[in-house]
Each structure stands twice: as structure tokens, then as C-alpha cells.
Amino acid sequence: MNKSLFINFHSGAAFINSCSILDSLKQSNPHTQYFMLTSASNEELSKVINHIEGFFFLDQAEIRNCWNTPIFNKNIAINLFINKIKTLLNIKWYEVINVSNNNFAAYLASAFDAENYIGTFIDDKHHVQYTDKYFELTNEVIIPKNIPAPLAERLGKSFGLPMNNMSFNRIEKFDKITSEKFKKIKENSNSGKLIGIDIISIVKNLGNKAAYSVIEKLDDTGEVFLISDQSQNSISVINELHQESGRVFKSITCNVITFASVARYLTAFYASDGVFASIASNSNVQTFYISDTYNIKLIQSLGPNSCIITTSELFSTENNRIELAATHNISLGFNYSRICADNIELHNADFILSLESHNAENNNCNLIREKINLGLEKNYLATTVRHTLGALRSLRTDIKTPTNANNFVEYIGNLFEVADSSSLASTVTTIFKSRIENNTFDDVAENITYIESQLFELKNNLKLIAIYLENAITIKALSQDAGV
């Protein structure tokens, strides 16, 4: 039986979402035993994670505190660190899977002895290595820019596995009680729809007034339940809502394990962020993240079966969006159709991932076509190609002459600016920028060869975007001619 070490140092919803691959992994490799190394702060959340033979918790905060406490001898922090992972260091792993992708996890994952490494690692030559482009594009080790793509979906694509619904650990006794209670509620309900609201996250992000409006808006859609944890603060927030509204809402207090039971009976779940939303979305419950803006962090935290709905959309009087949302089946994947049309950055990551799979004409790319200014993008692309070719030309000639060296630096600088821009070319240029900034070759000749190879790769990626844009322009022109 193979032993795999799953390293997951994400926290909160990202921890749950990045564990969502475990069901697919276990299904594909039924004879593999999975062990998890994670933060001590995830100990409570880990109780719902299935398919793990053993958890190992590292308390980074405690280690840091020990190190920074002047009276503590320095070996104490070192012992806290090494002793926790000692058992894992002595195992010959079949594979080490690092889904966390920060510098700490990349170094740590690379220190384990394994036949295979999946994710982001640091090799013996001190170079960052990735098993595929999804990890490269979306890691935090060398990519400074946040990529707006949901973590769970990225992992699914990276492993080439379908994202199955997660089978959370639940308590049998509580499962039974929940089943009986919800059966009765459903029988007595007119709509048969049971709607959960993580009211605490909504109050935290949008305030009491908006939270109350959300409840009111959803009230006619089905049986509404306020879901909260058992903390005193949450109880106070709900009591405050009761007092302010003059109503008493149905509420359920849960911890993560009991919520895994509750989530199974919900038709839809509304939240602003948090682990409850993550558990709901991974339990095949349509989950709506209510936010006043679209932000990258929120997009990254989206689980399957989930989408963002803005407060302006939610409270729109033009049509009943809630009704639409509650019945509309959001498919798995980077489906941003309900997300703000003007924000092109939302689509970038998806676009480049589609390019990588040579599937530029998929639905998501069609979506992009509708949203962007094709003419502007074409001009922008032409400029980026010019900088790329210019940099290549400078390299091919004598780079040591001051003029060529200056030109080269200028072209590279221009490309780095593209990486920070908001255009279709920015994602591929971001990859280029990150690789150049993080290459560790000391030798000049090695360095030049490496940069040249990266410039060629960038050139090829830009060519793919060019082909896509040409097709898009043709399709758009034909559509206009046909009066579509």
C-alpha cells in the first residue's frame, strides 16, 4: 500500500477547498493511504476531512512565539518544529503532494523523502519546480500577482481529475437527528426549499442592515435558517438582529462537523465568506457569496457549485435574481457568467488555462469574447509582441555592448509592465516575469540561455492569444453581418 503525504497549510475555507481533491484522489488511487500535514489552527476543521489515515499538526504560531521570546533557549523552537515532523521525515513516501504553495510549504515538502513530488517544490539546485502549469500559475512562491481562479478548481485541473463532491466526516447520531428534523420541516414547507444563511459572515462583511435585507429577500423563497457557530459573539449578533427587526428567525448553531450534516439538506446557502460556505458548496449545495464588490480573494475562495452575487444584484428591482439564482444550476468550473461583465481580470486566468489545454474556443472563451474590446486587446498584444521580439533581438546580438544591454533591459521592463496590466497578455507575461525574477543561475551564459528560452515560450503564448483574437474578431464581424 502506497503512502502519500498531503501537505495543506491553507486555512479556513481555502483549507476545505484544497481538500476537495481528496475524494477524487482516493477514488483514483483506492490503495493509497493519505496522511496530512497541516497547521495546528486547522485541527478543528480537519475533523470533517475524509480519506486521511493520520493528521500531523504543526503549530507555526507557537514555534514563532518560542523563537521570539528572549528567555526561551533557541533549541526549544527548533525542537518544536522538528519533533512534530520527525515521524514524517523517517517515512519513504510514494508521493508528497503540496497544495499549499507558499515558500514555507515548498521548502518543507521538498525535505521529505518521496518517489514523486506533486505541486510546488524546491530542488537541490535551489530552483522552484512545479509539476504543471496550474501550480506555476497559481502559486504564491514566485507569482507576486494574485490570480483570480478558484483554488479547488485549479487543483482539479492540475491533477486532471474531476472534482467530486466531498464526503465529509459526520457524526452518525447527529446525522439521524438532522435527517428527522429537516424531513419534518420540508413536509411543512410550502416551497420545499431549505435555505441556509451564514448570517455572521454577512453581518461581518456587510453590516446588520444588509444582513436583515438578505433575510427578508430570501424569506419568500423558502424556509430560511440562520446558521452560526456556538460562540457568544454569534449568539449576540443574532439576538441583535432579532431586536432590531422585531422578529425571531429560525436559527441553527453548528460546529463544522454538525454543519456537514445540516448542509446535506439545504437547497441553497448564502454567505459572505467562511468555512460554512465552503462545506456547503463542496456538499453539492448551491452556494452564493454575497459581496458588495468582486475581489480576487473571494473568487479564489469559491468552491464548486458556487458563485458571487453582489448586493446590487441581490437587491435589484428589475427582476427577481434570487429566484433565478435559487433555481439556476451553476455548473462546476470557472463559470463567471453571473459575475460583473466589465472586469476582465476575472477571466484572465481561465483564459490562459484554456489556452494551455488548446481549447481556446470553449464556453469560457466565448464569454471573454463578449466582454473585451477586441481592437484594444489586439493593439496591446502587438505592443507586447514587439517588446518580446526586441528583447530576443538584443539577446541574439552582442548583449555586452552598452546599447544592446540598455535596450534589453528596457524591453524586459516593458514586458514586466504588461504583467501588471489588465489585459489578455498579462497572465502569460506574469509567468514570464516570475520565472525571470526568480531564476537562480549564477552563470551569465546559463542565464542568457534561460531568459532566451522563456522569451520564446512567451512568444508562443502570445501567438496563441493572437490566433484567438483573430478568430474572435472574425466571428464578431460575421455575427454583425448576420445581424445577430
Partner: protein
């Protein structure tokens, strides 16, 4: 730590130690004195359940503090540091029973800060309460203990690293490099790195930039 310990009796009939000519409790009424001590100190204990008392004497102050804590239904983890082993023995002989708190009687400060149990207790961030008479009787010890700063020189701590493999690695490095932050800097810029280097760099990521600032502050 040699000292002369004489046990005398207070006006109220309680045993009180006199160390090197100094009474550690009131010669009139040790309990009344302890009650006043506990009343002034108990407010300082409100945010923690861990209390470190500097100085044992004959523990009237400790007993009274515990009594007042119990009255408010609080159960605190109390440890008392007393470097004078003779005094500790005299106290134990006097009460003829086990105390309801733990006495730490180690006058080696470096060793004290190596004890896992004491370290784990300190992680609870205990409130430190000083019994003034006892503190003054052992001023050098307590002042040194409170101002103790762990050594940053690798040679001073690498031999106490539990893991044999990582200990050997650090010992080997410590022959050439003085401090851990220098080693981290060296490895972070190295072209070839091994398994232990990776572990060290992972560790450096946990302790973060404070690796330097923590050392600089000392």
C-alpha cells in the same frame, strides 16, 4: 547558595523563617500580612490562570492567594520559585504535607529555562508575582532570572536539539557560523541545498524576519 535559616514563631503562633537575619513574614501576624498581599495581587491575576510567584517563604502569601482565588471559583496553575533549597526543605518539614502548588527549587537559571515543564508553563504567559521579602533575600538570583536572555550563539544550543540528524547538521555548521540567522542567510543564498538546508529554510519561513529582529533586540 549557603544561608542561615532560623525558624521563629510569630505573635500569632505561626512558624516564620528568618533567612540570613531577615524575616520573610510578619513577626506579628503572617496571615494578616498575607491577606493584604493577596488582596493587592489578585486583580493582576484576572486575565490568566497561570501564576508564577517569586519566593516561597513559608507560603502564607501563596496559601492566602489560593484561598481568595477559590472564593471566586477560580482554579489557577500556580508555581513558586524558591532558589534556597534549605528553605524549601524547612517549609516542607514545617507543613508536614504536600503543598497544593508546585515549588521549583533550581538555582541554575540556564538549566531552569531548559526544563520542558517550566517552559510549557511560561507559554501560558503567567502573571509574575513577587513576594518582596523573599525576592530581596535572593535578589541576585531573581533579578538574573527575570533579565535572562537565551544565547543566540549556535554553539550554546545546538547540542540540545533533540533530532540527531538535524543536531549533527547544526553542530557541523556551528563550527564555521556563529548564529542561526547567519546560517539561514548563508543557506538562503546557496546554489546547492540538501534536505537539512530545506528544513532550515522552512523553519526560517516560520520565524520570519523576526529571526533577525529578535536577535537584534537582544
Amino acid at each position: 547558595m549557603s544561608s542561615t535559616i532560623i525558624i521563629e514563631t510569630s505573635k500569632t503562633g505561626l512558624s516564620i523563617p528568618k533567612v540570613n537575619g531577615v524575616y520573610l513574614h510578619s513577626t506579628l501576624d503572617p496571615i494578616k500580612e498575607a491577606e493584604a498581599f493577596a488582596r493587592t495581587q489578585i486583580t493582576r491575576t484576572e486575565k490568566t490562570n497561570a501564576i508564577l510567584i517569586l519566593g516561597l517563604g513559608f507560603a502564607y502569601h501563596v496559601d492566602e492567594l489560593m484561598k481568595q482565588l477559590r472564593a471566586t471559583n477560580r482554579h489557577c496553575n500556580i508555581k513558586v520559585i524558591e532558589p534556597n533549597k534549605g528553605l524549601v526543605q524547612a517549609y516542607l518539614d514545617n507543613i508536614n504535607a504536600s503543598p497544593n502548588f508546585q515549588i521549583i527549587s533550581d538555582n541554575d537559571i540556564v538549566r531552569l529555562y531548559q526544563e520542558t515543564e517550566f517552559i510549557n508553563f511560561l507559554k501560558l504567559k503567567p502573571v509574575i508575582i513577587s513576594h518582596n521579602n523573599s525576592f530581596n533575600a535572593n535578589k541576585t538570583f531573581f533579578s538574573t532570572m527575570l533579565s535572562y536572555r537565551a544565547s543566540l550563539q549556535m554553539q550554546d544550543f545546538v547540542d540540545k536539539v533533540d533530532d540527531l540528524n538535524f543536531r549533527s547538521y547544526l553542530i557541523e555548521q556551528s563550527t564555521q557560523i556563529d548564529s542561526l540567522h547567519q546560517l539561514i542567510d548563508h543557506v538562503a543564498s546557496a546554489r546547492d541545498i540538501n534536505r537539512n538546508d530545506k528544513l532550515l529554510l522552512a523553519f526560517s519561513q516560520i520565524i520570519g524576519s523576526t529571526a533577525r529582529s529578535g536577535e537584534a533586540s537582544q
